[in-house]
């Protein structure tokens, strides 16, 4: 069996591990356009901020490829997917029996007037991109970040550790709109601002000049370095060109098979099914990518597996304040907050289920909530008061506790 994997990040590694669970023999070739041993993309901000060494950037140990008998073609781009082969940028054709497309996403850069005049502009997506930033940034470098989402603020945090003077600008009226509600966003915003990072909301860049940006609210922000972190777009072109179905991202079934025969896709480039809302969306999350890759790998090696129970979820911290969120916020809400202590909790219920939550500050044991959303545990057998108090196993009925903790099955 010949396996080809395009991409070298979490989904690709998941694919390798998925394949190798059952097939120790098949030939696996990874094609990556980067020159690195597999590394963890989410770590780039930590690396930039100096929290992670070069050594610790790698997602798997240095012997990973050897141990898993994987051939890696570094700095090679796949240009075309044929019926049984992939054409590379050097013209080589790589034959496959099963192909995994784990191409991830690329930064989205909206058209902004004068952007082409800015020399020191960067995105925040790859190790190379942060390496470039690191070369330029100095103490008190003025940094303008466009985008107060996850990537923009993670970049801000990293630069804060490098003592840069940071301004974050976002069109939205609050930060982290994709994961936080208004109240939680305020707490976080205050927390970040208290650290000296400037946040300008409900504003966008009217026009760039080489070292400054004029905003729509009339302010002008000078900068040495510009980071555009507005969002990402999935890399779907290879599949689209080969005739595979692509919507917001690559469409797969729950075995991660695309509409093309023998071609699988996983990770940020694909569309996932969010079981908390029963809708399809891109879930650009590392755990999601790895697990999709693993499922794809298993199926590629002939072991049937299905990827279900995907939900949006995020565990992230900014400037030392941690948040864990998951699911959807559409439903009946229960909130508890203590902004002075930077504590916030929101639980969202709908249809007799826990649908989503936001935890800020005290995030301990959040996974218990996550599992309730993923497993769609009916609240009838759950002690709601305990559920609201904090994540705990005590809220479940004895049968579930005994099964989960005691490894035994009993009748309730």
């Amino acid at each position: 069996m010949k396996y080809v994997i395009i991409g070298n990040s979490a989904a690709a590694i998941g694919g390798v591990q998925g394949i190798r669970e059952s097939d120790r023999e098949g030939e696996i070739t990874i094609v990556t356009d980067e020159a690195y041993h597999t590394y963890s993309r989410p770590l780039i901000s930590y690396w930039l901020g100096g929290k992670v060494t070069d050594q610790n950037m790698y997602y798997r140990g240095k012997d990973f490829y050897k141990d898993n008998n994987v051939k890696v073609l570094y700095s090679r781009r796949a240009q075309k997917i044929g019926k049984n082969s992939v054409t590379l940028d050097n013209g080589d054709k790589l034959a496959f029996d099963k192909l995994l497309v784990a191409t991830g996403s690329k930064p989205f850069i909206p058209p902004m007037k004068g952007l082409d005049k800015v020399k020191e502009q960067y995105t925040f997506m790859t190790w190379d991109s942060v390496k470039a930033i690191k070369k330029k940034v100095k103490k008190h470098s003025k940094v303008l970040i466009i985008g107060a989402g996850l990537i923009g603020l993670k970049a801000a945090e990293a630069l804060y550790h490098l003592n840069a003077d940071i301004t974050v600008v976002d069109l939205a009226d609050r930060i982290l709109p994709s994961i936080l509600d208004v109240d939680a966003g305020k707490i976080m915003q205050k927390h970040i601002e208290d650290k000296g990072t400037k946040i300008i909301l409900s504003a966008s860049v009217e026009e760039f000049s080489p070292k400054s940006a004029k905003l729509t609210n009339g302010e002008t922000v000078d900068f040495d370095i510009l980071i555009v972190a507005v969002g990402v777009r999935p890399n779907t072109e290879l599949i689209a060109e080969a005739g595979g179905k692509v919507e917001k991202g690559i469409i797969t079934d729950d075995t991660q098979l695309t509409t093309l025969k023998n071609v699988y896709a996983a990770g940020d480039c694909t569309v996932s099914h969010d079981c908390s809302t029963d809708t399809d969306k891109i879930l650009a999350l590392l755990p999601n990518a790895f697990m999709q890759g693993e499922i794809a790998g298993k199926n590629m090696a002939g072991v049937e597996a299905h990827y279900q129970n995907a939900i949006p979820m995020n565990a992230i911290g900014f400037y030392g304040l941690h948040i864990i969120t998951a699911g959807s916020y559409d439903g009946e809400e229960y909130t508890q907050q203590d902004p002075a202590k930077e504590q916030y909790k929101k639980l969202v219920f709908k249809d007799g289920l826990l649908k989503g939550y936001i935890l800020m500050g005290d995030v301990a044991r959040a996974g218990i909530y996550t599992s309730m959303i993923k497993e769609r545990i009916p609240l009838d057998n759950v002690d709601i008061e305990l559920l609201k108090e904090r994540p705990q196993m005590m809220m479940f009925g004895k049968a579930r506790r005994v099964e989960k903790l005691g490894g035994l099955t009993v009748k309730e």
Partner: protein, 144 residues
Amino acid sequence: MKKVYVNEDWCLACHLCEYYCAAANSGADSMIKAFAGGKKPIPRIKVEEGSGINFAVQCRHCDEPACVKGCITGALSVKDGVISCDESRCVGCYTCVMSCPYGCIVISEDSSVIQKCDLCLKNNNGEPACVKGCPNGAIVLEER
């Protein structure tokens, strides 16, 4: 594989497992030293107390470990069925805290990394300290 199981029928909520766990993983060679001078090492096992019901919760060492799969750094790994964390590689992102359905990933005292039960494989305790220390057999290491 032998795993730690808890039986809530026998948990007395004495919390000794937490202390034995914390001490065993503290690096100190005795319970007294581990807690000397008001130190409060973090246990990787947590006793939940309710009205008449108590039990300890610690890593189940799942066959399909969401924590390991979701780990962004590769700090969490499975070896011979035992899930352990290489704290030197952990960046404290808490993705595992978000993923663990049992709430068994604990956060270090300084919040910088996560810690978790590794069945006392790393601390040379032999048998898991919680199992050894439980006065009522509510925590057992068994093949089930």
